[in-house]
Symmetry: C2
Subunit: 691 residues, 2 copies
């Protein structure tokens, strides 16, 4: 695991670490970030991070508490300090860039328990130009083999009462809106209480918040606390001590209160601190990916980024329904055929079909174990004929596996379910985990479920199946290791536009890139063209709080290799000119330039297609109208491009006139400067086709 | 489910039940047992049982408490009373008899919750000549669909402080010795504390006892409280109130404290009360089987009762070991070949092989999930060559699936494991559940595990595999419904002869037929010929507390369609004359006559082979020597038989001279009367071959 590259990266005397109150410090490759590790006479080990000499993390403790053997590992003797520097690049199977630089300095501090247990562990730190990751490593050793984690004692102490974008701590749901308050104003209980559309809440406590946590300091730093490579370990939330402004890791417990069952050699996930004085740097960071292991899939040629339509939103808006009974069954043969025709006509790769299989009569809220079998279509859904029909048109169905949270049931049927997919020629599955988990007492975010998601990714890979997981753990860069686990929901997605209470605020999509999206692609399901959701039920007051142009821009600002065009075919056919952008926009990029961004306010990103020299720009704003200058210097010099600009009409407004847009074409070069005017809740999407 | 046969079985006026303090009463077909149901003005419903006018169960409450919907169903209006009488016979696939009479009167009392929930349920009672079974039935109804059981409120109130054979209540182990005390002297905590060889104890409480509970009254009644057809519901223990001499059902909780998740239409298992003034009647009772549903296996021709030897006891006595490492790996190719040769030479059907697969290094005590994969043999075990070799000799290997309690792991691998067995031509599996259950927080006796065992039986049947489950729930007659689930351990078996603390007392095997064996066959693994277990370790003081003749007799007194000859081939080869009985004794019977029995003292049973007119007798005693008269009137009149009598030598004694036996042959007829002298801890086995 650890390969020692002994170099002279350290400032301070390494040897001094062996003595009382010793300290060592290491910089990022560009020296903007400096990390200092200290060991005081009592044995406490702390780390401290500064960015351009501004405080990021004040000296904060590290350690871990075990329940078997029963020992708290938080007083140490430092027995060795090793360091190394790494600078390489790698090519993701798909993503925001065709190659990624992985440059960091690292520090490996060997710690011996001062309490006499004989246990040794390592604090492994990697310092990138855009942040720091650290984890605990437990080598194979005589005094530690199998062990149980009671609590992780990692701390993150801030220097001041920063403003923060936070979500209330919840072991089962990450589908909250973000709150923006000072640290001392965090009130998780109030945040939970106002979210009436989240059916399953498992609150951690009044001062608990989820990761990623985004902080904005008064002196201009953007700091994100998160985690990378969460495998065989629960998801980490944070407990806030408002007096000391300290956040302490809060792991998701299992059914009996334990946090993790581990065996040496092993390690925890990385605890990550991204920091910059430029908000755009956070969005451009690839540190989370770099902290993950390389792909385990030797031949990834079957993994294809794709766009899809499907039998889904029409259930949400009341045109159809999942169950067979009730006369509104959406997933019937004729209806799905229409989606296949639509996908084929407009060049989409896939057609998602929800509600295709027996079990929906009785699927939700009963903690029922044997809910779906994943292989029995409803009698009105002729899957054999549809897969053949789709194949003839160059389209594939996308399978839906709603588990209803009954994961034991899914695991025992997963092989049969995947074999059925292979038989039907379907190679993408959307999984769902709505409801309380079975094994009962387990949480969505616990170690058992983390292991489940890994098992799904691995087994799906055996069957060459791509996975889009909903109600799953927040992604932590594992799509590097399992590039067939292409996207997850794991946040409040577009379906909440139809939620009656809070819906999706205009600012939500300007926060996501700084929080949830840091970990990996989201199946947000953008592309809604009809903003008032009363199409099939005139009494319905739910609505989409964006302009139509912003819906287009989301395809650029919210990256995913699986992108849905979520609205109904009939709604797209009324706006085929705007729909053209969704048809054209790629889902795999050669290059990404984050041009401007401010969390909660706006995001402006340009990306270059992996298959062509064409560029695409997405700009979105929150509830405020604004103008964003767009310098086209990213375009190839001496080339001309035809720009197709999909923008808000002058009168557009998410509230009063959301569907008003203008499409214009312009010839531009790298020297062109545009001004993008975004309406309230608006956006702008631009395609630049090289001539 | 319920077919109304309205008859005039009831005494008292049915109509009267609709009024306050009404009562109705129904007798067993032979009128020996009388059951009375009362409904008092407060709505309480009680049942009462008398046997030949002696009290069996004093008026005791019925009911159930739900946590969702939150309602206690124990105050009722009786809305209807139906009755029926049934008398038919059926043929088990295998068993103690070739056909079983199923004769009972039944009462179905329709109950409406008096608390206003609108919920209706039924108390369904069947009265046989040998006992009573009752259960709760929940029809499909508007006010009850999915529901969660918080507690069952079934009560069993005794009329006096009876003496009782009891085991301490434990959600995870049923491998205790039985204690014999008055009801008021039950001390489960003390019983648990003295059992130092049970690694995993999950005590229910100081006054909790397991079922089956055996009671012996001062006026000569034998009463057994148990359950039948435990499916989709947890195992029931009993909480004893010593003041009122009342036992109340105590269901095994799941990880979050719930007892069962049910959906209408559904029902609880049967609560059974066997009663007789003759102890032998309890052993002859087939009521538990009759309360189970008929076989679900349409073509059971592949299900074969069998005898087997195997790689097992030599691990217990220290000759070999399960793991590869350590130099004593038992399941190596050469060693297993010897067992195959031995089985072929002496006419055994199967060879059990434990320790064959990777994982034993690390299998116990760590609550480890991914412990075995069930398809990877150790490198020194050439399973392909061995299965071929065995096949050539007319012998089959028996697979071993130790789950280590990690049932999620087993369930996700079970298909592959069974497919592997089919590939290797193996059609019997011994499963094991040693250790704490995963899903963590679940217990061996909880609903989730009950469902697991049903899944195993069903899936095994799909692959035409026979199952012998160890560390599983106590059997409740489910071998009628799943005749491929042939045997279970679920009690203290022969392996405890090697347990250092209490071992197996001489009386234990005289209690088992009155308790554990009422529910179904046990893989007790009798047949030990070497009683001091110091063969490979001279310091070892563990020992078998029987004579050798008693080991033979156990093949008759402890019925199982799977019987192991548990000792080492080299020990059998020193006593081939005695071994002949094990070779000869059948494992499937046409008829069973329980000739004499007293719990905790002695058992004398005669059984007729299903394939021949030959009879076999087994007689065992506890620590006391005794003489049992044996009247051979069960033999076919006018035929002569050659009796081969395997009896204790005159000097035999389990303590001082356990291996001394005498074999003698006699010609006998139905008129012959024998006297069987049993040594202390001794026994006698007889084969009667018709001439």
């Amino acid at each position: 695991m650890y390969k020692p590259f002994l170099t002279a990266l350290l400032t301070g005397l390494t040897g001094a670490l062996l003595h009382a109150q010793s300290a060592t410090s290491i910089g990022s490759p560009n020296q903007a970030i400096r990390l200092t590790v200290q060991n005081n006479p009592a044995g406490e080990v702390t780390y401290q991070i500064r960015y351009k000499n501004k405080p990021v993390i004040e000296p904060s403790g590290v350690g871990i508490k075990l329940s078997r053997p029963q020992v708290t590992l938080n007083r140490f003797t430092i027995t060795a300090v090793d360091s190394a520097k790494v600078d390489d690049t790698w090519k993701p199977v798909w993503g925001e860039e065709s190659q990624i630089r992985n440059q960091y300095n690292e520090l490996i501090v060997s710690l011996q328990d001062k309490g006499g247990s004989g246990i040794g562990m390592r604090l492994h730190v990697k310092i990138f130009n855009d942040g720091v990751g650290f984890r605990y490593e437990f080598p194979k050793q005589a005094k530690l083999d199998h062990f149980i984690v009671a609590d992780e004692l990692s701390q993150f102490r801030f220097s001041a009462d920063h403003r923060t974008f936070w979500m209330p701590g919840d072991y089962d749901s990450n589908e909250y809106l973000y709150n923006f308050t000072k640290l001392t104003e965090v009130d998780a209980a109030a945040a939970l209480a106002k979210e009436k559309d989240i059916a399953l809440q498992s609150p951690i406590g009044p001062n608990a918040v989820q990761t990623p946590l985004l902080v904005k300091t008064a002196d201009g730093l953007y700091i994100s606390l998160y985690e990378a490579a969460v495998l065989n370990y629960p998801v980490m939330a944070l407990q806030l001590d408002k007096k000391t402004l300290t956040l302490t890791s809060q792991l998701t417990p299992d059914a009996v209160g334990n946090k993790a069952y581990l065996q040496t050699p092993t390690q925890t996930p990385w605890r990550t601190i991204l920091v910059s004085d430029k908000a755009t740097d956070l969005l451009a960071s690839r540190m989370i990916l770099n902290l993950n292991e390389p792909s385990v899939i030797a031949d990834p040629s079957w993994i294809k980024p794709q766009k899809f339509v499907g039998m889904w939103w029409e259930m949400h808006v009341g045109k159809a329904n999942w169950p067979l009974a009730g006369g509104k069954h959406g997933a019937n043969t004729a209806n799905v055929k229409k989606y296949i025709d639509f996908a084929a006509k407009y060049g989409f790769d896939g057609v998602l079909v929800e509600g295709w299989n027996v079990g929906w009569e009785d699927w939700f809220g009963n903690w029922k174990e044997d809910v779906f079998d994943f292989v029995t279509p409803y009698p009105d859904y002729n899957i054999d004929s549809l897969t053949a029909y789709a194949q003839g048109k160059g389209v594939r169905l996308i399978m839906h596996h709603e588990t209803s949270g009954s994961v034991t049931n899914y695991e025992r049927r997963m092989d049969a379910a995947f074999q059925y997919m292979v038989k039907e020629g379907i190679n993408t599955v959307k999984t769902g985990y709505v409801g309380r988990i079975i094994p009962r007492g387990e949480h969505h975010d616990g170690q058992w479920m983390v292991n489940h998601f890994q098992r799904v990714a691995e087994k799906a890979a055996q069957y060459k199946i791509m996975v889009d997981s909903h109600e799953s753990i927040h992604p932590t860069g594992l799509h590097r290791t399992y590039p067939n686990w292409m996207a997850s929901e794991a946040a409040r997605g577009s379906e909440f536009n139809n939620a009656p209470t809070l819906g999706i605020t205009p600012e939500h999509t300007t926060v996501l890139p700084f929080t949830r999206l840091l970990g990996g692609p989201m199946d947000f399901t953008p592309g809604l063209f009809r903003m008032r959701l009363n199409q099939f039920d005139s009494t319905r007051t739910t609505r989409v709080r964006t302009t139509l142009a912003k819906q287009l821009a989301l395809y650029v600002t919210l990256y995913s290799p699986l992108q849905m065009a979520a609205d109904l075919p009939e709604n797209y056919e009324k706006h085929l000119d705007a729909f053209q952008f969704i048809r054209d926009v790629p889902v795999d990029w050669a290059q990404t330039n984050v041009l401007a961004a401010e969390p909660g306010d706006y995001v402006l990103i340009a990306r270059r297609d992996k298959q062509s020299p064409n560029w695409y720009v997405g700009a979105i704003t929150d509830e405020a109208a604004r103008d964003l200058p767009l310098n086209l210097s990213f375009l190839e010099p001496s080339k001309t491009y035809e720009a197709t600009i999909y923008r808000d009409a002058p009168t557009a407004d998410w509230d009063t006139n959301p569907e008003a847009y203008v499409i214009e074409k312009k010839t531009v070069t790298a020297k062109t400067k545009l001004n993008l005017h975004l309406a309230k809740g608006g956006g702008c999407a631009i395609q630049f086709v090289q001539k």
